[in-house]
């Protein structure tokens, strides 16, 4: 149903990856209405997996070599390096007629040729699934643990000897019920950030004052006017509770806020579809020194299948993010992006994208503009091997002196999978 499909666009991605060919399943979909290039299954090139009972196991190993001409994301004096990333992963996907359960685990090992201080490991493990009570009532669940690294180009990077690492525990639940034309979906999401100390001049930088619990609850209601047009209202409230108050600069960063939008989920003949919405978002900070952030929230998430071989995706969104910048409560991030996917051959998929982002810090005058542009080509050699070549360009233009940077990354990636 068009509405259920569109609902998935704005809720987190759960459930099975359509592209996996399950042994014994019927012919994988290559030409459904509304199917974009990235959704399409590739019979003969998609992994079959290993059948274990009523599950299918998909093991994979990625090895990527890249050249990064500005690994510290600095302005004038840049350091370049060659990086190897080894990324093993396994996915256990259920094969049931009702309900879905996926278990996943993966790791990324980064090794730098000339700057071993930047070496790091990321990993994640989790489970997500869906319980189908009836055809109209489902419950989506997700639980995962991630150990991640903050990018050097992030405005929150403290400039230590090594990038900042943190643990992120996430739990999500979304209940969806359809009554005839009306679909209601209340949801809740909890995320706990636990930052590691960063080695720096003079010892370590203690990042515990950044540890926080973010709780989000909300509901989305869709009313289906026609099978191709649905109006929706989405409201969410969030609470951000820091474990250490006040933080190292004396500010109490606890906050709460809301995000209320109304919009339409549209589907024009399966070739142009997506959400557009407009609304308001606001975040209130406990500390009287931190000003309230609020603004109009307008967004779009549209896909246009120009031809069955080419898909264009346009996205725009706004969100309020946390920061460690002294005196700033947070920043209002506005992001617009366009991506094009083209299936040149059945096993050669090209991708190009450009994203612009404007970060407006509230409480200080800092404004950052980002441009991210990239092209990549993915060549599916056979069921077991994939190769990808990509180029990414990132530029930050900040009104704070010395915080600009430009970075080019060229990467070649091999994937071995079963």
């Amino acid at each position: 149903m068009a509405v259920m499909w569109l609902l998935a666009l704005s809720l987190p991605a759960f459930g099975q990856d359509l592209k996996r060919a399950v042994p014994g399943a019927e012919e994988p979909f290559t030409d459904l209405r509304g199917m974009s290039v990235t959704d399409r299954a590739h019979p003969g090139y998609d992994p079959l997996g290993i059948r274990i009972g009523s599950f299918v196991l998909y093991p994979a190993l990625d090895v990527a070599g890249s050249y990064n001409d500005n690994i510290f994301a600095t302005d004038v004096v840049t350091v370049s390096d060659y990086i190897i990333e080894i990324n093993p992963s396994i996915d256990l996907v259920s094969n049931w007629s009702n309900h879905v359960l996926n278990l996943f685990a993966s790791g990324s090992i980064f090794r730098y040729a000339d700057n071993p201080s930047e070496d790091r490991e990321n990993y994640e493990a989790g489970a997500d699934g869906r319980i189908d009570f009836t055809r109209d009532v489902t419950l989506d669940l997700l639980g995962q643990f991630e150990h991640l690294t903050e990018e050097r180009g992030s405005p929150n990077d403290v400039g230590g000897f090594a990038p900042t690492q943190f643990n992120l525990v996430t739990g999500e639940a979304a209940y969806t019920q359809t009554f005839n034309r009306l679909t209601v979906a209340p949801f809740a999401k909890i995320q706990y950030y636990d930052f590691d100390d960063t080695p720096a001049l003079g010892g370590v930088i203690n990042n515990d004052d950044r540890d926080r619990l973010e709780t989000r609850v909300g509901m989305r209601a869709d009313y289906e006017l026609t099978p191709d047009v649905a109006f929706f209202v989405l409201g969410k409230g969030n609470f951000r509770d820091y474990q250490t108050v006040p933080d190292d600069s004396g500010l109490i960063r606890n906050s709460h806020g809301f995000n209320l939008v109304a919009g339409a989920a549209l589907d024009f003949t399966g070739s142009l579809f997506g959400d557009i919405y407009v609304g308001y978002l606001s975040q209130y900070y406990d500390d009287p020194a931190l000003i309230t952030i609020s603004g109009v929230n307008a967004g779009i998430d549209m896909t246009w299948n120009v031809t069955p071989l080419t898909s264009v995706t346009a996205t725009a969104q706004r969100r309020i993010e946390e920061t460690i910048q002294a005196g700033a409560s947070g920043f209002l991030a506005t992001q617009i992006g366009i991506a094009v996917d083209h299936e040149l051959l059945r096993n050669l998929i090209l991708h190009a994208e450009i994203i612009g982002r404007w970060d407006d810090y509230q409480g200080i005058t800092r404004e950052d503009n980002y441009i991210d542009a990239g092209v990549s080509g993915q060549y599916l050699m056979n069921r077991y091997l994939r190769f990808e070549l990509s180029y990414a360009f990132t530029q930050r233009d900040s009104n704070v002196a010395g915080d600009d940077y430009a970075r080019n990354i060229v990467m070649a990636r091999f994937r071995v999978q079963y």
Partner: protein, 195 residues
């Protein structure tokens, strides 16, 4: 006497000229095998080829009639007269050929009628859902052929296709539009597009 011979000579000359003209016309219009290219199928003259299934009826002689299939070189093996090559003959010519073989040794005045029961299949490969060989349908076009083969895939180039006429042997494939009429034994290739 003289007038009649002159008239018959004149008739013969005109007939000869007509045959020459029609021969030239046929050579330019029709391919090596199959239907002569003409807008209306009613005027077309089909030429027999290997794989065609024909019913040959000799009037009054059930034991000389039956259903036969042309073999790989266009021959049929008929009772009494044995092997007859019907390759590239039109239906009328084939009837005449069989009648000539029956006369004068076996029958005085044979009345032979020949009809095609099953045409050779046509072949279609490339970007269609079910490539393969399918039964020929009278008057079909390339678009009909694609429909019979399951339709274009999402990667098909739909504006034109490659066509090799039956009997062309080593002949090259020509680019034709989808409205082109198809003949039994034709080979159609639907190409992939990149954009």
């Amino acid at each position: 006497m003289r007038r009649r011979s002159t008239r018959s000579l004149g008739h013969g000359a005109i007939a000869g000229l007509l045959v020459l003209l029609s021969g030239v016309l046929a050579a330019t219009l029709s391919p090596a095998n199959g239907w002569a290219q003409s807008a209306s199928l009613g005027e077309a003259t089909y030429q027999l080829g290997p794989g065609d299934r024909v019913r040959i009826s000799v009037f009054g002689h059930k034991d000389l009639s039956g259903e036969f299939e042309l073999d790989g070189v266009g021959r049929v093996s008929l009772p009494l007269i044995g092997s007859v090559t019907l390759l590239n003959n039109s239906l009328a010519d084939a009837e005449r050929e069989i009648a000539d073989r029956l006369r004068p040794d076996y029958l005085k005045n044979p009345q032979v009628s020949l009809e095609v029961l099953n045409y050779r299949p046509f072949y279609i490969i490339g970007e269609v859902r079910s490539p393969g060989s399918y039964a020929y349908v009278n008057g079909m076009s390339v678009l009909n052929a694609v429909a019979i083969a399951g339709g274009f895939t999402y990667r098909a180039r739909e504006e034109n296709v490659y066509l090799r006429r039956a009997g062309d042997g080593e002949g090259e494939e020509r680019l034709v539009g989808v409205e082109t009429l198809l003949l039994p034994g034709d080979f159609v290739k639907v190409r992939e597009r990149f954009f």
